[in-house]
């Protein structure tokens, strides 16, 4: 039971990554295919790029979350997966570097002549990365990773029908999520034609993703029969139905231009696929390793649960703040509102109490003396604290002097 808890946490993280970062990857897809709408390709690309600005780093951290929970709670499985799948994992890593770097660069390039090259790199890596990560999921789902250090086939483990299908599905669902979200953003910004463009793109992408998912079931039936059986019976089937229903509902919402609810149902459709995969494969993690066999010892699992629970107390309110500011447009590139002006309450000049200099010097001498001369742990702790106090007070003194 306890052995399953970190797996549930990882799946929640994976669903969040698929939905949130997926939408960011999809924005890159629409930068690559920005033509064919009523709006000019340049304006379309700008819209796709600006929409993810404030949130992509936070969305990306979900991937780190999944990795660290995996290597702490299921270390042997993690090592087996990463070593056998070194090629697609490295390709995903390269994609992530290129994508992050080109995004950071592109923001400063509005008039530069070489901006298109950077933008192409960004768009290309936005397609490459979800595909590579999808093949990793496919390799796990089709049970091609034996336990051990690089024991699986270095190529066939990830270049196989199931992996290619899931890689393609990752691109399709990302594009679909992105189109829905970008349509919603366009409405918020009052960009009517952009909104209609992305509405159409969302409908087409939904059609493609749905068709791909259905034909993919056939691929899985021949290539990974246990997975197919899991997806077509019991709770696996239920999740597939939830996903299909949520997908259809999203199409209706998008058709009728109710983008707020469409955001939610589109996310549900994608998250249900992740859940469906999990229940279809349960309790196997790798071919000869169940989840409970893969799990670390009890004290490690409890530590992970405590750490995640404590982290969630900080994380959940922070995410709510971020997304409520973001979705209300408070972090948009064009200022839609102005902050109230500053009212200075102080005297104007920074206050520099006379005792601060003496305090800083005393902290330096006593703190330095404790660190250098003492051996006890408490003395070092006190000494270091005093050195920090010296650093802070001396910095305030040095930096607030007239220049």
């Amino acid at each position: 039971m306890l052995a399953d808890v970190p797996m549930v946490l990882m799946l929640v993280g994976l669903a969040a990554y698929t939905v949130l970062a997926g939408a960011d990857f999809g924005a890159g897809f629409w930068i690559l295919f920005a033509g064919g709408g009523r709006t000019s390709p340049a304006a379309t690309r700008d819209h796709a790029r600006h929409a993810m600005g404030p949130v992509w780093e936070a969305n990306h951290v979900w991937l780190i979350f999944v990795l660290v929970v995996c290597w702490t709670a299921y270390p042997v499985a993690f090592a087996s997966i990463m070593s056998t799948l070194s090629v697609p994992v490295f390709v995903a890593a390269v994609g992530i570097i290129l994508r992050g770097a080109s995004y950071a660069l592109r923001g400063q390039l509005d008039a530069a002549p070489r901006r298109h090259i950077i933008e192409r790199i960004f768009a290309f890596s936005s397609v490459l990365t979800p595909f590579a990560l999808g093949t990793v999921v496919g390799a796990i789902a089709s049970e091609r990773i034996p336990v051990g250090n690089a024991r699986g086939d270095a190529v066939a483990s990830w270049l196989n029908p199931t992996s290619i299908f899931i890689g393609a599905l990752a691109i399709a669902t990302s594009s679909y999520l992105a189109a829905v979200y970008l349509a919603a953003d366009a409405r918020r910004l009052g960009e009517r034609t952009l909104e209609l463009d992305f509405r159409e793109r969302a409908l087409w992408a939904a059609l493609c993703a749905g068709a791909l998912a259905l034909s993919g079931l056939l691929v899985v039936r021949y290539d990974a029969r246990p997975l197919f059986d899991g997806l077509t019976t019991g709770s696996g089937l239920a999740m597939v139905c939830v996903s299909a229903a949520a997908g259809l509902v999203t199409v209706v919402f998008v058709w009728t231009r109710r983008f707020g609810p469409a955001r939610v149902s589109a996310a549900l459709a994608v998250a249900a696929i992740v859940a469906g995969w999990a229940v279809a494969q349960r309790p196997r993690f790798l071919p000869d390793l169940t989840i409970s066999q893969a799990a670390a010892g009890r004290s490690t699992l409890i530590a992970v649960v405590i750490a995640v629970a404590a982290g969630a107390i900080v994380l959940v309110p922070s995410l709510i703040v971020l997304f409520s500011l973001f979705l209300r447009g408070h972090l948009d590139a064009e200022a839609t509102m102005r902050a109230p002006a500053l009212v200075v309450s102080g005297t104007g000049a920074a206050s520099r109490p006379r005792w601060l200099g003496a305090f800083a010097l005393a902290c330096f001498l006593v703190g330095g003396g404790l660190v250098v001369l003492a051996d006890a742990g408490w003395a070092h702790a006190l000494g270091v604290t005093m050195l920090y106090a010296f650093a802070a007070s001396a910095f305030v003194l040095a930096a607030t002097l007239d220049t």
Partner: protein, 455 residues
């Protein structure tokens, strides 16, 4: 299994060397940005707001690059060292889980801070930066707790080479051998971020641009760097004594000490020829004094362990001497700055001082990397000190040299891109970034006036 050990180690070292300078900006830069904004809140002087806002763009860009280079590191744990992860992930992994949450908080609030200028009220905006400052420091605390554990592994029970019992909390935080590393890294963060930022304005000063904006920016960056570099030798002394006690072989490699010696001398420069340090300047008894605060103390030599258990001496020794040498020069530079600042109440005026600051930025990065090479290579041949050899941890996958070559090419491109990006941010005219209030547009004429005056 070991055919790619060297390539894997080089790939890891490259990735760490690229990421660690960015970590310094994560530790130190948010506090500097917030200090500038705090001055704005206190004085209402738009110059401080302009400064904080410009710096926050640099902060966000460097954070974005740090996000991706940090992600590569987490991939490489599994890609390069699956043996290490499989055997010990359950012991140390918790540190990274906690770091993940720090990273989350940092990413969330850095976005709110950097995109929230003009939209949030000034005080709320300032408050949104505080989690960034805290998370930058706690993130490095958690990562270094893992590194401290690798150097001094505790908190687990082994049976037949496998961990049968793990106590992650006590392994990471009950370990007394990581606090010196963490504090040393914190001050290193302030030195690197402070000196690098100061380098930029020192260049301006040398070109005659000594306007109020440049003076203010330089004073903040250089104050932080100078104070940190004066404290750093004290922390370094603590670190050296801890290494002498817990990892005596690492200390012997740092000093090139072959034989266990009482009243051991210190050698400056020179070369370890396999038996002793040649061509160095010998200072009698200094090593014993530094390592144990006793000129007659006995210092353990490399001979106490078999050849196969010794780290590569010259790499460790050269890196250590580089770090200490540069650190000493930077501390002297810091003392000069603080002396002029407090005794004369102004910034130094000499062109030689600003030439020194100009090179201090790059030098501080070299010292930082040399310090990490000292501790990481000094731990070899162990990945988990005394328990697992690096050669037993490395991946069995092929093609590591291809990955290494690809990564070299990508990081070269990345370095070029970041340099160009920072150049662009610097070239942006001051007015564009500030609000169109009179006080900011006043900056530019006064800048050019003073510039022409200085010439």
């Amino acid at each position: 299994m070991q055919q790619y050990l060297f390539a894997a180690r080089q790939m890891q070292a490259l990735s760490l060397s690229v990421h660690i300078p960015l970590v310094c900006f994560g530790i130190a830069f948010p506090a500097m940005v917030l200090f500038a904004e705090w001055r704005y809140l206190r004085t209402g002087d738009e110059l401080f707001r302009t400064l904080a806002k410009r710096w926050s763009k640099v902060m966000l860009a460097l954070f974005a690059v740090g996000v991706v280079t940090g992600t590569i590191l987490s991939f490489e744990f599994g890609l390069l060292w699956p043996g290490f992860m499989a055997a010990f992930g359950s012991v140390f992994g918790l540190g990274f889980a906690l770091e993940g949450f720090s990273f989350f908080v940092e990413a969330i609030f850095i976005a709110i801070y950097a995109y929230g200028w003009d939209r949030l009220s000034p005080r709320l905006h300032f408050l949104s930066g505080i989690p960034v400052v805290i998370a930058g420091v706690t993130g490095s605390l958690f990562v270094i707790s893992v590194n401290g554990w690798m150097n001094h592994p505790t908190g687990f029970v082994l049976a037949n080479g496998a961990v049968v019992e793990a106590h992650p909390w006590s392994a990471l935080f009950g370990n007394a051998y990581f606090w010196h590393q963490f504090v040393h890294m914190c001050f290193a963060g302030y030195m690197v971020a402070g000196f690098l930022v100061a380098s930029v304005y020192a260049w301006d000063f040398l070109r005659g641009r000594r306007g109020r904006y440049e003076r203010t920016a330089l004073a903040i960056a250089l104050s932080a760097a100078a104070i940190a570099s004066v404290i750093q030798p004290i922390i370094g002394d603590w670190a050296a004594r801890a290494v002498a006690k817990i990892q005596p072989v690492k200390l012997a490699a740092m000093e090139g000490l072959a034989q266990t010696t009482s009243g051991a001398p210190e050698h400056l420069l020179g070369w370890y020829d396999g038996r002793t340090v040649v061509y160095g300047i010998e200072i009698p008894r200094l090593l014993s004094l530094l390592a144990f605060h006793d000129p007659n103390a006995t210092v353990q030599g490399l001979e106490t362990v078999p050849l196969a258990d010794r780290p590569p001496v010259n790499v460790v020794r050269l890196s250590f001497q580089t770090m200490v040498g540069i650190g000493t020069l930077l501390a002297l530079l810091g003392l000069v700055f603080l002396y002029v600042r407090f005794r004369k109440g102004r910034l130094p005026e000499s062109r030689w001082f600003y030439r020194a600051v100009l090179v201090a930025g790059p030098l501080s990065v070299i010292a930082l990397i040399a310090g990490w090479v000292t501790t990481e290579v000094g731990r070899q041949p162990w990945i988990v000190y005394g328990f697992m050899r690096t050669s037993d941890a490395v991946t069995g996958a092929h093609g590591i040299p291809v990955g290494y070559g690809t990564l070299v090419a990508i990081y070269l491109g990345l370095a070029g891109g970041v340099a160009w990006l920072l150049h662009r941010l610097r070239q942006a005219p001051l007015e564009l970034l500030g609000p169109s209030t009179p006080s900011v547009s006043e900056i530019t004429p006064s800048r050019s006036q003073e510039a022409s005056h200085a010439r």
